[in-house]
Every structure is written in C-alpha cells, then in structure tokens.
Symmetry: C2
Subunit: 348 residues, 2 copies
C-alpha cells in the first residue's frame, strides 16, 4: 500500500469525506464508505468500499420492529403509530419520549425491571446536563433503545415466549428478528454476523450494500407491515430521535421522501421511497457528526443528479447539521467543517 | 486509488492505527501518520506519510516558550521552573495551574484583560463539570494556553514591545518565535505555514518529519535554554497538562526519558533525549484519545526494537491511556479499543 493512500497527505482524495480546515490546510479527515442501491441491489452511487462489513447498530431498528406488525402483536396490543415509531427509535430521553415509552410499556404489561437495556448518558445535551448536575436520575426506560426493547418484550408476550433473556441471540425473539433480516437483506443466516450491542440486544454485521438494499426494499414495499412502520416513523420524526437530531430534522423537512435512521459509530441508513432507493454509510473513525454531514451531502449530490426536489435540503433546521465555520475561543473563524469529494455514480 | 485503500475493508492495514472492535469485526479505525527521526533528520521509524503537512497546534509550545530563556526574559522576571513549565503547558485549569498562572502574571505585571486567549471548557472533566453545573465561572486565565500567552506578554515586556496584539502574526513576539522555529525546524520561513490557533495565537504548519526533528534537536541540545526548558517540563509534569492526562502521566513514569506534548486534533510530539530521537504523530480524524494510544504504542514498539527501558510502559497510571475493553450499558464487554499495526523501521 502506498503511504499516500494511508493518510490523506497533500493530495485531494476523490472519495466522499468530511474535513476540517484551518487556514489553507485540511486539518482532519473523516473517510466515508457509502452505498446507494435500488431494491434489486443494483449500485447507483458509492464512496469507498461498498462491500465493507460492519455493525448495523441502531440503523437495524426498523427491521427489529417489523415482526410486531407482521406477527400481529401491534394489533393485539393496539399499538399506536407513536409507539411503533418509538420501537424504531434511538430517542433522546426527552419528556415526550419517556411518556410514550411509559404508555407503551403499560400496554404491553411490562415494567422497567424487565428491560435489558442499561442506563447511559442521554442523547439530548439538555437532558444530559440535568443528569450530570444531579437534577435528574436516568433509569432503564430512559435508554435510547427502550422503545426497541419494549417492542421485543411485546413480541415475546404476544407469542407466549418467556420474557427473561429476550435480548440474547438464542431467544426466540432474536431468532424471529434474524429471520426477518435474512428476508430483507437477501443474505443467508450464516452471512449475518452477530454480536452484542451497546444496549445488550443482538447487533447485526453485514455489508453496507446489503444494508442499503434492505432499506430500498423496505421503502419500495407495498406490504401493510413495512408501509405502516415507515408511515409511523415519517409521521412522528421527533419520537424516532429528538430535538435537534438529524433524523428528526431530515424527516420533518422531507416527510415521506426520506426515512433516515442513525446508528452508533458513524452509521446511517435511509430509505428514499419515491426514488426506490436505499442508502447506507459508515464513517471510518466512527464520528457521528461526520456521519450526519455525509448523509446530507450524499442526499444533495443524489438530488443534483437524479431528483432536484430531493436535493433541496436548505431548510433552516438542516443547516446546523451541515457545513459549519469553525470558530476559536475568541469567536474568530479559523476554518470550516465541511463535506468534500464526490460520490461515484454507476453507469445507468 | 483502489477503493479498498480508502476504507479499511476486510483486509488488515499494516500501518499503525487505533481500532475499536465489536465481536469479531473491527468497527472503527483511526489512522496514524508518525515520524521518528534523529537530530540530523534521518528517519528511524514511521507510519503513513511522514511528509504530511499539518498544524502543530499546542505541540509547538516549547518552541514558543524558548525565547523567554534565550532572550533573558526568564532571568529578568526571575521565572521559576514552574512558570516555565506552565509557559509550555496545555493545562487542565485545576487550582494549582491557576495558582501558578496567577503568580506568573503578577511577576510579569500583566492582568487577565491583557490576555488574548479566550474562555473554553476546561480540559479537566472535574473542573468542566463544575463549570457546566454553574458552580464555577472560567475566565481567560483558565484557558489551557494562559501560560503560553503570559510568556508571550513577558517576552513583549522584556523587549519593550507593545503589548496589544502580541498574539498576531505581524507582532514582534510572533516574529521572534517564528525565527526560533526556523532554526529548530531547519525550514525557511516561507515553508512554515501560519494560521490562527484555537486560542487566537499564531499556529504553525509544517511536515511531521520537521516536527519530529525539532524535538530530536531540542532533546539533544546542550545549550542552556533548551536544557532548562526541558528540565522544567520534566520536573513539573503536572503543570504541563494535569490530573489523568497522558503527557503528565508519561513524564511522571519516565522522568527525563520522554518529554511529551499534546496538540489539538490528534497531535503529539515528543523528545527522547537519551536516544537522541524526536517523534511526531497525527491522527487523521483528529481523535485525541487515539493519538495518546498511538503515542504509547509507538513508544512500546520503539522500546522493543531499540531500548527496552523505554518500552517498559506498564506503570499503572499509564494503563488507562492504553488499550481498553469496551463495555456496554450493562457492563458487558463487547470489544476493545486497541492499537494495531506496526511502525516501519528504516534500515540502520
């Protein structure tokens, strides 16, 4: 490998990346691997290695929630669209999130003690500050994954499966979810890697292309379960993430056009139903801010090439997620945080 | 460029890097460019592009402080070793740092209003929490660069130069410092790039190899000014950084053997005086934690190859800066944060 490929040196890298600049130098770089595919899995656009196998993290949540609808649990418990949205959420632990989780848990008849997800610093900076300063104490239902976990408990109850250990790979809930994944990813079980996620539930590893294809298929599906699930996410963007979060702001700006889901360690996946496309990306170093900027830039470039309406991402609430001037401690602008490089578009 | 070089894909990258793992996959990667050279500039070991031109940030501080000694300002103001250490510091704003800054400023006869550095979140997590929870209010002398700025004011006073604007590129203080840099880096002025640092003072851009060579020369020098400066840093590791900081813990563990200085955006430089070597590294994405781990790993590999005593970095206080298991919200170990890859050693 040539050293110049290893670190960006002084030559521009053509691939999509997020950069910080200071003066006339690029100071830091976040590399982006990205795949945009259609429901048949044909590559439309890319950056870096589209075959990269990595952990899907929370971007798998819609598929982890799908059995609730497919198996009739959502009907049996009379789950609302808000509760379905929360089952797909990496929420910010704001009061409204906690309120919907609470109602969801009550409908399913489970208590916090039965949740396997642990406590963590809330994703909302404001809520995190309350916790840090001793003015609030988080509990398991504050976990950003509490909706997902409540959904898993609902599935277990619905099927009459035991509740304890519902999060573990061998449990029927996780086996059912894995079955759903094989169908939507088009991958055999043996090609879907398993590990333990931050919240202790099963975490899935697969190629970026397969992630993108799953989202393309989900967005293109006419079946009632995916349609209701995506409809719930689109109707309740706040519940899927929270105040000031990119998924929320993006889905508020482009209702129904983009269904976006973040994952830890620099992951995003998105369905673009009107275009019949799915997108998946990974920032190499795991930086979440860079991942959001990469998503916005990819959508802009896709829009410019394929669908002007998609590319109109100038809504004020999206500006804060995009390129920014970098200011020092005296407010002097020293450089910028920006997207750079270009997607490769496949011959069509 | 082959896509597989752009993102790490499934093949191992030989160069030094910091990785996080989850299950059996590498989940995120921080690439490292690194140069180890001797005082003549001969390359001893490397990773990535040793010619990478990047901003030196706070790792330039010893050179920015050197004129205090060379020009007689340290003698004229009767600066203590503590104050010299603080002039080189990116301190954590702990009470002892503030106390030494205060004494330093008093000796020089300057007040906070004359400091150009701005306010920022303290580098000490404990102090930052006090600020975040409204129990403390930082002021300019809390800035991690306040020692450096006080030193610059001291130099201006000593020479009879005007104090206002001492931080700006055209001011005699900054011109004098640039002169010092040309001598130690061996680079002509036109090859040292200038920009504005986070604290508003001048920031220098140069190749990693030149940074490393400067530190090698500094460590090897028998002149009184560098010897006193490095002696001050070595004698007061706490003042150069702070509680739980790698520079401090490293210099406490290896007094006189390693003089290490961190810089923002994934920068470290270090002198290894007994070996006559200097080291400089940059983490591509700017991650500071990864930079510290890369420094430790590079020292370990250098030690294994060249100097066993150097490589003995098993002191308990250093363990927390090295490889760590990654635990999820339930305390389950899901992977690790670790160094990987190897330095290339030049034929000697």
């Amino acid at each position: 490998m040539r050293p110049a490929d290893y670190l960006w040196a002084s030559m521009p890298i053509p691939e999509l990346r997020i950069e910080t600049t200071r003066g006339d130098l690029v100071e830091s770089v976040h590399r982006v691997a990205l795949a945009v595919v259609d429901a048949e899995g044909r590559l439309v656009a890319s950056s870096g290695d589209t075959n990269l196998v990595t952990w899907w993290r929370s971007a798998a949540k819609p598929f982890q929630a799908l059995p609730l609808l497919e198996d009739g649990a959502a009907d049996a418990f009379q789950l609302s669209d808000e509760e379905l949205a929360l089952a797909c959420a990496s929420h910010s632990s704001e009061p409204r999130h906690l309120s919907v989780v609470s109602a969801f848990m009550a409908k399913v008849g489970v208590t916090e003690e039965q949740l396997s997800c642990g406590v963590h610093t809330p994703l909302s900076p404001a809520v995190a500050q309350e916790v840090a300063c001793g003015r609030a104490v988080p509990s398991p239902c504050w976990s950003n994954c509490s909706g997902k976990h409540t959904g898993m408990l609902a599935l277990a109850r619905h099927h009459g499966w035991p509740l304890p250990g519902y999060h573990a790979a061998g449990h029927p809930v996780q086996q059912r979810i894995l079955e759903v994944l094989t169908r939507w990813t088009g991958l055999p079980t043996r090609e879907i890697r398993l590990s333990v996620d931050g919240c202790t539930a099963v975490c899935f590893g697969l190629p970026l292309r397969a992630m993108a294809r799953s989202y393309a298929r989900l967005g293109a599906s006419t079946q009632p379960a995916p349609r209701r699930l995506l409809g719930a996410m689109s109707a309740h963007p706040f519940l899927v993430a929270g105040t000031g979060r990119l998924c929320t702001d993006l889905m508020l700006a482009k209702p129904g056009e983009i269904i976006a889901k973040v994952g830890a360690e620099g992951i995003y996946s998105a369905a673009l139903p009107r275009l019949g496309l799915g997108l998946a990306l990974k920032v190499e170093d795991g930086d979440n801010r860079a991942a959001g900027m990469a998503l916005l830039e990819a959508l802009r470039q896709l829009g410019a090439r394929m669908a002007p309406a998609l590319g109109e991402l100038s809504a004020p609430d999206l500006a804060r997620h995009g390129s920014q001037p970098i200011r020092n401690t005296r407010g002097v602008i020293t450089g910028e945080l920006r997207a750079a490089g270009a997607l490769r578009f496949s011959a069509s």
